[in-house]
């Protein structure tokens, strides 16, 4: 990299704007594949069949996502040509294509996720008319409008919209006052978390799409008396279900700050009408886990990336407060953890933030690096370490128990190297893969 890059790949946190840490520009794509895409997410609905209508270049990635999941039988496609965009046939091409696909399927699916792309929206496609026509032709199938629209990501990101559309096929049901939903996640919440103990331990039924075994169980999510979200991408799902089915929604961000975790539990207990327990023991256990970990790993540089945890600055603050040498963060913005960002800027001004996609990160991996314990796949790749915590989206961990669990994962990562090359290429961490 030239000494005076026009768009530097890193910045001291004290010099960074939390809302836009780096200037926008061309972007590089790291060869780490653990984060889920909209195909992985759509596969969560039991029995769902996905149909993508878009250009060949866009189709390729989604089809091969399904192929690597050994799930090609759950995804079909309609390619869009230049001519299709201009000859007035856009809607009918999709309707006819979907009908042909559905007639060829050995079994009719209970729900079809129909994905249109950026160019359809740009051309002003009448999506409602398409859905209406398909619902008339196939009255036993629920059709859900889905979107592969990365160009529109600054309005609503595809991941956020997909998390919301996962629940669009839920039908209204009688409210079950004992049913609580956790929605918008791509993996189950850790069974050891206080969150699940509060729900199940007080006699409530947990409804979570990631645990649904069939379409009937999926539909049971419509009976929830309360929906919880805790990842940033899930918020819209909660809001839309509140609006459409009247299910109250509570967002309890997955923070690493003890007081914020406590506030989340107070909010939840209040919503459930139960007494909030004393979590002193859980806090002490988290502290003890942190202390044990520090005694083991000491001053090794720690790098955290935003794909591993949704609040990397919050985690960095927690670890810093416990003496760890958090030296690097890979993130392009601070959102729910803006307060932690400000704390770090004041107390650890030299903490270095790296862009995840800056073009000057291209050869960063090949540069000389000190030993690093990485939390997340991008950090592992960029800092060329086999010692990393292999999770995405918090790994399902939450609360004080989540902190203790993360300490265990860090300890394991410190002691036992992973085969980075093999692990990082697996697309959609937690999904089946023909590459494994």
């Amino acid at each position: 990299m030239s000494a005076a890059a026009e768009k530097p790949r890193s910045i001291r946190i004290a010099d960074a704007d939390p809302n836009a840490i780096f200037q926008s520009g061309l972007e590089y794509n790291t060869p780490v594949r653990g984060m889920w895409n909209i195909v992985h997410t759509g596969m969560l609905i039991p029995g769902a069949h996905q149909i993508f209508a878009c250009a060949q270049g866009c189709l390729r990635g989604v089809i091969l996502t399904a192929a690597e999941m050994n799930a090609l039988d759950r995804l079909s496609w309609i390619s869009v040509s230049e001519q299709d965009m201009y000859d007035g046939s856009l809607e009918y091409d999709i309707i006819d294509g979907c009908a042909e696909i559905l007639q060829k399927l050995p079994q009719k699916p209970p729900v079809v996720l129909l994905y249109l792309s950026c160019i359809h929206l740009f051309a002003g496609v009448d999506f409602e008319m398409i859905l209406s026509a398909l619902r008339s032709q196939f009255p036993g199938i629920a059709f859900v409008d889905c979107y592969m629209t990365p160009t529109m990501r600054q309005t609503v990101s595809p991941a956020v919209k997909m998390a919301a559309q996962l629940y669009a096929a839920l039908e209204p049901r009688a409210r079950n006052p004992r049913a609580v939903g956790i929605i918008g996640n791509d993996r189950p919440t850790d069974e050891g978390s206080e969150l699940l103990r509060l729900i199940r331990g007080n006699g409530f039924i947990l409804r979570d799409l990631t645990l649904c075994k069939d379409y009937d169980e999926y539909q049971q999510m419509g009976e929830c008396a309360l929906n919880l979200t805790y990842t940033p991408v899930a918020g819209l799902a909660g809001e839309e279900l509140e609006q459409r089915l009247g299910i109250p929604h509570l967002h309890l961000p997955n923070s690493f700050d003890y007081s914020e975790i406590a506030a989340n539990y107070w909010l939840l207990c209040d919503a459930l009408g139960i007494e909030c327990p004393d979590f002193s023991a859980e806090i002490a256990a988290a502290d003890a886990a942190l202390d044990r970990l520090y005694a083991e790993i000491g001053e090794i540089a720690v790098a955290i990336d935003f794909t591993a945890v949704t609040q990397p600055f919050s985690l960095a603050k927690l670890l810093t407060e416990h003496g760890f040498h958090v030296k690097y963060i890979i993130a392009d913005a601070a959102a729910e953890d803006a307060a932690a960002f400000s704390w770090l800027a004041e107390h650890r001004p030299d903490l270095e933030i790296f862009s995840a996609a800056n073009v000057n990160m291209l050869h960063f991996k090949s540069e000389e690096h000190e030993p690093v314990l990485a939390i997340g796949q991008k950090a592992a790749y960029y800092f060329a370490t086999d010692h990393f915590v292999n999770i995405v989206m918090n790994g399902g961990y939450y609360g004080y128990a989540g902190i203790a669990a993360l300490c265990t994962l860090m300890s394991e990562a410190y002691r036992t190297p992973k085969d980075s090359r093999r692990v990082l290429r697996h697309k959609g961490l937690g999904c089946p893969s023909c590459l494994l």
């Binding site: 061309l26 250009a55 270049g57 390729r60 390619s79 290429r425």
Partner: protein, 379 residues
């Protein structure tokens, strides 16, 4: 419908073809797109991505810039990245959204070149065509831009045209091909575009003949024929019998300046016992070998763009899932050679010779991409 598929994948797109063809040449390739093209390319279409870094970037197009026609953002970002990365050349290519907004890539490339002082090539992709179109344009542009007018070498020599991992994976076929050509008495001047630098490609005009190993190389071959008079031969010396035909064609082409298409011998319009599905030159070569080995009639189904001269003049081929499935059902062959993901639409009674093709199944069978020169068809 021709544009519908229930279960089989589509081939890699034109943008991936451009990136793959230019990957090893020291340039900076920019796909004007939001994100998907680069992620798809890097994950599914580019086996070199982890071990061999290349300046392949995405413009990260946003809705606002698309609607407002803010091409200045693309131009300024490319110039800025070029300042930081200092590439040998720049290539810019388009995806579906720029197609919708009518981005003028020729004008953008000219402006980038003016500001950066770095040669900038516009590639006319839009994400709706196959990798053949993109790689073909990219390889041809490289030939046009960089081939020096040099005298022919004293000894027989050859260029390999149309080599990308999309068709051949890494190593394997292309490495074996270099050895085979040496064994046939040809020195390899250059390979468009695996394993050689831009400096090496500059010497292409000193070769006596070009060996075109996929349809991605035909446009460059035609250019080198038209401008430098270098004849070309389309075929891959696969198996036991067919290599002799390719070697013979190379020697005669070098001697008489006439282009030859030995791969066309693999295709018969008769509905025979063998079907090979895939890229036309590879599939034709495989079909020719299988036909000789078994004594049975073969035909090629080519779902990708092809030169009819590579298919015995046949200008039409089943291409969509529906057409291929119907063809195989109505005229069931005994043997099918194809990528394993075609198995979903192959008749059960046919024997499938699995020949993974990276441009079709991506990473799914990446450890089994065949070395076509040493493939054992009797397995």
């Amino acid at each position: 419908m021709k544009n519908v598929s229930r279960i089989i994948p589509c081939y890699a797109a034109d943008t991936s073809g451009v990136c793959s063809a230019l990957y090893e040449l020291g340039g900076m390739t920019v796909v004007h797109d939001a994100s998907g093209c680069n992620s798809t390319y890097a994950t599914h279409d580019e086996p070199r991505w982890y071990d061999m870094q290349s300046m392949i970037f995405i413009s990260a197009l946003t809705e606002l810039d698309a609607i407002l026609g803010n091409d200045e953002k693309l131009i300024a970002d490319v110039v800025s990245a070029a300042h930081d990365r200092r590439p040998r050349f720049i290539a810019v290519c388009g995806s579906p959204m720029p197609m919708m907004t009518g981005v003028d890539f020729d004008a953008a490339a000219a402006e980038i070149e003016r500001r950066s002082g770095i040669r900038t090539l516009a590639m006319h992709t839009n994400g709706t065509h196959s990798y053949i179109a993109g790689a073909s344009e990219a390889l041809c542009r490289i030939a046009e831009e960089y081939t020096d007018n040099l005298p022919k070498t004293k000894e027989p020599s050859v260029n390999i045209l149309g080599a990308t991992p999309l068709d051949f994976g890494i190593g394997g076929t292309v490495d074996s091909l270099r050895l085979w050509l040496h064994e046939q008495g040809f020195s390899v001047i250059s390979c468009f575009a695996m394993g050689d630098t831009l400096e090496t490609l500059r010497k292409a005009a000193s070769a006596h003949v070009n060996l075109v190993i996929s349809q991605t190389g035909t446009a460059a071959a035609q250019y080198l024929y038209d401008v430098f008079g270098i004849p070309y031969v389309c075929g891959i010396p696969t198996g036991q019998q067919f290599p002799a035909a390719v070697a013979d064609a190379l020697k005669h082409a070098a001697a008489d300046g006439q282009c030859r298409f030995p791969c066309a011998a693999g295709h018969s319009d008769e509905k025979g016992e063998i079907v090979v599905i895939g890229e036309s030159i590879a599939a034709g070569s495989i079909a020719a070998e299988l036909s000789v080995q078994t004594g049975k009639t073969a035909r090629v189904i080519c779902p990708l763009p092809f030169d009819p001269r590579c298919r015995n003049g046949a200008a039409e081929s089943p291409a969509s899932e529906e057409e291929i499935e119907r063809d195989l059902t109505e005229h069931p062959p005994q043997i099918i050679a194809a990528d394993p993901l075609y198995r979903f639409i192959c008749p059960q009674q046919a024997r499938l010779i699995e020949m993974p093709h990276f441009a079709f199944s991506g990473r799914c069978f990446d450890t089994r991409i065949p070395d076509l020169l040493h493939f054992d068809y009797s397995r």
